[in-house]
């Protein structure tokens, strides 16, 4: 298992109550695994309309691999402008 640090913003941070959390994920885990893990650990996240994941500052698809050195962030629906 690998520890993966995840940044939280906006409503995700408010619902979880922390601005960063550490998850323990299998080696070779994908973005979809991370999301499944987070939803299990923090059921409140289901209250968000949609959640994307950024890896090293870029949007990452469900199949993208996550390594412990990646900067991972949860991206709830954006509302800038």
């Amino acid at each position: 298992m690998n520890p993966v640090s995840v940044l939280l913003f906006g409503i995700a941070r408010d619902l979880v109550g922390q601005s960063a959390i550490t998850c323990s994920l299998p080696k070779q885990a994908r973005v979809s695994d991370l999301l499944a893990h987070l939803h299990e650990q923090h059921p409140a996240l289901a209250g968000i309309k949609s959640l994307l994941v950024a890896r090293n500052g870029e949007y990452a698809g469900a199949d993208a691999r996550i390594s412990p050195t990646d900067e991972i962030a949860l991206i709830p629906p954006v509302s800038g402008g």
Partner: protein
């Protein structure tokens, strides 16, 4: 020029930055904090203030992608994209987009493309604060 800033946005310096001898048209779009928003029941709800939060490094990267794409589509001589962060009161400017081009059609089109796309892809979040509660905009079903 692309920036995220906790400080008030200065229009004059943005304009000066865009002035070049080949520019015949400059379009500016300002997003401003409005004093009301439609509530979930469709009724007007009074806004007290807004809080903007950004995932800074990624927000800059995404804004740069938008500017690069705009450059590919239109003959842009200069652009300014400045987004405010932190707490904003009614009437304050949340975002300034400025584009200088030789002719006007392309200035309008590029400016509108940039603000429309920012609202879709850039990791910035807005919370509306009311006298009796708060809402992360567009975040819940």
């Amino acid at each position: 020029m692309i920036a995220l800033t906790p400080d008030p946005i200065d229009i004059s310096s943005a304009y000066k930055y865009l002035q070049t001898d080949g520019a015949g048209a400059i379009d500016f779009f300002f997003g401003v904090v409005r004093d009301n928003t439609p509530g979930t029941d469709g009724q007007r709800r009074d806004v007290e203030k807004l809080e903007y939060e950004a995932y800074g490094p990624m927000a800059i990267k995404e804004m740069q992608k938008i500017a690069d794409e705009a450059h590919r589509r239109w003959p842009i001589l200069g652009y300014v994209i400045i987004h405010r962060t932190g707490t904003l009161r009614i009437g304050e400017m949340a975002v300034l987009i400025g584009v200088a081009t030789p002719h006007r059609a392309e200035a309008f089109e590029a400016t509108r493309y940039i603000i429309d796309t920012i609202k879709q892809t850039v990791p910035i979040w807005k919370k509306e604060l009311f006298t009796d509660g708060e809402v992360w905009v567009n975040a819940t079903p």
